[in-house]
């Protein structure tokens, strides 16, 4: 069996859906972050697969950008999470609804 780009896309779609479901379903902020990472890497996979299929370098470039941005995002996100945890002793995002309209 030859792995065509379609397989990678299918895998990416599955990973993305799992990630999205994780973000929506889980309440622990840490787990939500991991789910987001999963979504981001699913996107990376599509970039790289498409780039390789079409013979373009841009796919890998875009993936590198996403990795860098994801690293920054996680740093800030975890910092906020630590700060929140110190104040509220919880990582449950449903309890962090003070900005409710």
């Amino acid at each position: 069996m030859i792995l065509t780009a379609g397989w990678y896309m299918a895998l990416a779609a599955v990973l993305f859906s799992i990630g999205a479901a994780g973000v929506l379903v889980r309440r622990n902020a840490l787990v939500m972050f991991m789910s987001i990472e999963l979504m981001l890497n699913a996107v990376n996979l599509t970039f790289v697969a498409a780039g390789s299929e079409m013979g373009l370098i841009e796919g890998q470039v875009a993936a590198l950008f996403v990795i860098v941005v994801a690293a920054a995002e996680v740093t800030i996100g975890l910092a906020i999470l630590v700060a929140v945890f110190r104040r509220r002793s919880t990582a449950n995002v449903d309890e962090l609804a003070a900005l409710k309209g």
């Binding site: 999205a20 973000v23 929506l24 379903v25 309440r27 939500m32 995002v93 449903d94 962090l96 609804a97 003070a98 900005l99 409710k100 309209g101």
Partner: protein, 623 residues
């Protein structure tokens, strides 16, 4: 040389700016001297610039300053011609004397510096008005004059009466300004320009009689407001609330002469509208007589003079109405001299009686204030029209011209003669009540002659009031020749020739003498009470103020009140508030979506993404 014309305007403007800002720091008496000096220098420049006009080397010159409104082709330009120089000389000359007088009169006033700032602003405004080379610039001066008069009349604004008088002057003038402004718009519509030169050259070919009548009538509405004619004269008597030098300035040199000047300047237009001229002459004659009857009943010395001004302005308006423009301007000049003198004299009297203005509590000042008395005598005889003082020549020229103008105008002439009789009467009454008999002033007041600073302008004005007639006698029409270039293409009404003019003069003189003797026999021996009948009615101005109050001011206030409460608070505010409420309630209803749950937001984002994807798929954009 001619480049100095803008300097005329700039000098008092600089004075005004400096004194309004730094007046307090410069203080007394220097701000007064600075203001006087600037106007005095202006007079010297104006006189210097008039020399080539008299010798005939130049006729008129236009000075372009800058393009003011490029879209309409309006230039800020000044005109130096005989008429402009004539007015500029009166404004700066009489204005200078009044400034010097005010240096003494305003002694000790809290806002001394600011007063002279306003005075200079007044002079500058009037100079802009008379030196303008087009109607747009004239309008600027016209409005500035209204502003400065407001500032000066309500100068002692702590007194409610003064504040109200300033407001009244401004509002009544605005009514006139409305007509003036609409007239200007019609001029622009007809000619496409405001320039005097173009308008007056093209007027005979461009204007139909109907348009000319409309334009001139509207301009006349402006003149009625500024020059205090029936029915807009009501502001002038109240303008007495200002300091006396201000009254003198308004009545003699500036402001009220603006209307006469404007009509004389637009003589070409007025000649094209015979119907307007009849209206103008009639209003003038009616005002001359009507105001004279009011002046007879006043007890306040300044109010007598105020109504007298209205009456004399009536003569001038009558003069321009019978196309005797030079006669009107001649009277404008002589009146400037003797009316300034009368006001300054009255100011000296009021000053020495510690602010008393009621003539029935004056009297006996003849010996105590000799300089004031004798200069006032000159002014009295001049305004009454006694030979050979200036008023006789100028008033007589107007009456003679009216007589010669046509059958209808003989009626106006008769009204004018009757007004002359009344003028002699009320002026004699004023003199006898103020200076004659025994002193009736309250105890503790010790009248004395005014300081030299105030008497010197009186003497100079007295000399001018006495001799100014020689500039335009029937034998030597000096002023008429001088002004000729400004009235090119205008047919002026001349007095009748030979015997007739002497006869008319005699009739006027008889009327004057009758008036003087009438008053003499009434007031010389005893002072009548004058508390009922005609005297009471005249004292109250025939209740015209109440009438206006009831039928113009009250409805105006009602409309203003209605717009303030019903229209503004309910309709306008209601609109604004309901927009605000709508946005607010929309926001409140939408705030339910802001649950604060991160996962909720995530779900919406996912849903949104799916919605966009679905839309792309369905619209066929993706595949």
């Amino acid at each position: 040389m001619i480049d100095l014309v803008p300097v005329l305007v700039v000098l008092p403007l600089i004075g005004a700016a400096t004194l309004i800002i730094f007046g307090k720091r410069i203080g007394e008496p220097w701000s007064g001297w600075v203001a006087s000096a600037l106007v005095g220098v202006g007079f010297v420049i104006a006189a210097g610039l008039t020399v080539p006009l008299i010798s005939g080397t130049t006729e008129s010159e236009s000075i372009q300053l800058f393009t003011w409104i490029p879209g309409l082709g309006v230039e800020a330009s000044l005109l130096w011609d005989p008429l402009a120089s004539f007015m500029a000389l009166i404004v700066t000359g009489v204005g200078f004397l009044i400034h010097v007088y005010a240096v003494g009169y305003m002694h000790g006033d809290e806002r001394y510096g600011r007063f002279f700032g306003y005075m200079n602003l007044f002079i500058a405004s009037m100079l802009i008005l008379v030196l303008a080379d087009n109607f747009a610039v004239m309008f600027v001066g016209w409005e500035l004059v209204g502003l400065s008069s407001y500032l000066l009349i309500s100068f002692w604004f702590i007194r409610p009466a003064a504040a109200a008088a300033g407001k009244k002057a401004f509002i009544v003038n605005r009514i006139g300004d409305w007509g003036f402004l609409v007239g200007l718009m019609l001029i622009f519509a007809a000619f496409g320009t405001f320039n005097y030169g173009t308008v007056f050259d093209e007027a005979p070919t461009v204007l139909s009689e109907g348009t000319a009548t409309a334009i001139t009538l509207l301009l006349f509405v402006g003149a009625v407001g500024k020059s205090a004619q029936i029915p807009l004269y009501v502001w002038l008597p109240d303008a007495m609330e200002g300091p006396t030098p201000v009254s003198a300035l308004i009545h003699a040199a500036t402001m009220v002469t603006a209307g006469i000047y404007m009509i004389a300047r637009s003589a070409v237009l007025y000649e094209l509208a015979p119907a307007t001229l009849v209206v103008v002459a009639t209003v003038g004659a009616a005002t001359a007589f009507y105001a004279a009857t009011l002046a007879m009943g006043q007890r306040d010395i300044k109010r007598v003079l105020a109504y007298s001004t209205i009456s004399q302005l009536g003569y001038m308006v009558m003069a321009v109405g019978v196309t005797a423009f030079t006669a009107g301007l001649f009277h404008l000049m002589t009146h400037a001299f003797f009316k300034a003198l009368l006001f300054l004299g009255a100011g000296a009297v009021i000053h020495s009686l510690a602010g008393e203005q009621d003539m029935f509590r004056m009297g006996g000042l003849r010996k105590l204030m000799p300089v004031t008395f004798w200069t006032m005598v000159v002014a009295w005889l001049a305004i009454a029209g006694v030979v050979p003082l200036s008023g006789f020549w100028s008033k007589d020229e107007i009456l003679a011209a009216a007589f010669a103008h046509g059958p209808y105008f003989i009626v106006l002439w008769a009204v004018g003669v009757a007004a002359a009789l009344l003028t002699a009467f009320y002026m004699t009454r004023l003199m006898l009540l103020t200076f004659g008999g025994e002193g009736r002033w309250p105890d503790g007041v010790e009248p004395e002659e005014a300081p030299t600073l105030m008497t010197v302008p009186l003497v100079i004005l007295a000399v001018l009031a006495a001799i100014a007639g020689i500039w335009n006698t029937p034998w030597r029409l000096g002023l008429e020749h001088f002004l000729e270039p400004s009235f090119e293409g205008v047919t002026q009404q001349q007095p009748p020739e030979g015997q007739a003019v002497v006869g008319l003069a005699l009739i006027a003189l008889v009327a004057t003498v009758m008036g003087i003797f009438g008053a003499w026999s009434r007031y010389n021996k005893a002072i009548p009470a004058e508390r009922s009948g005609f005297w009471k009615a005249a004292l109250n101005g025939y209740g015209i103020d109440e009438l206006y109050g009831k039928y113009a001011v009250a409805p105006g206030r009602a409309i203003a009140g209605w717009t303030a409460t019903v229209l503004d608070q309910n309709v306008i505010d209601g609109l604004v508030n309901s927009v605000g409420r709508g946005v607010k309630s929309f926001g409140v209803s939408m705030s339910d979506t802001q649950t604060g749950w991160v996962r909720w937001y995530g779900a919406i984002m996912v849903a949104g993404t799916f919605a966009v994807l679905l839309w792309l798929l369905l619209s066929g954009g993706l595949f």
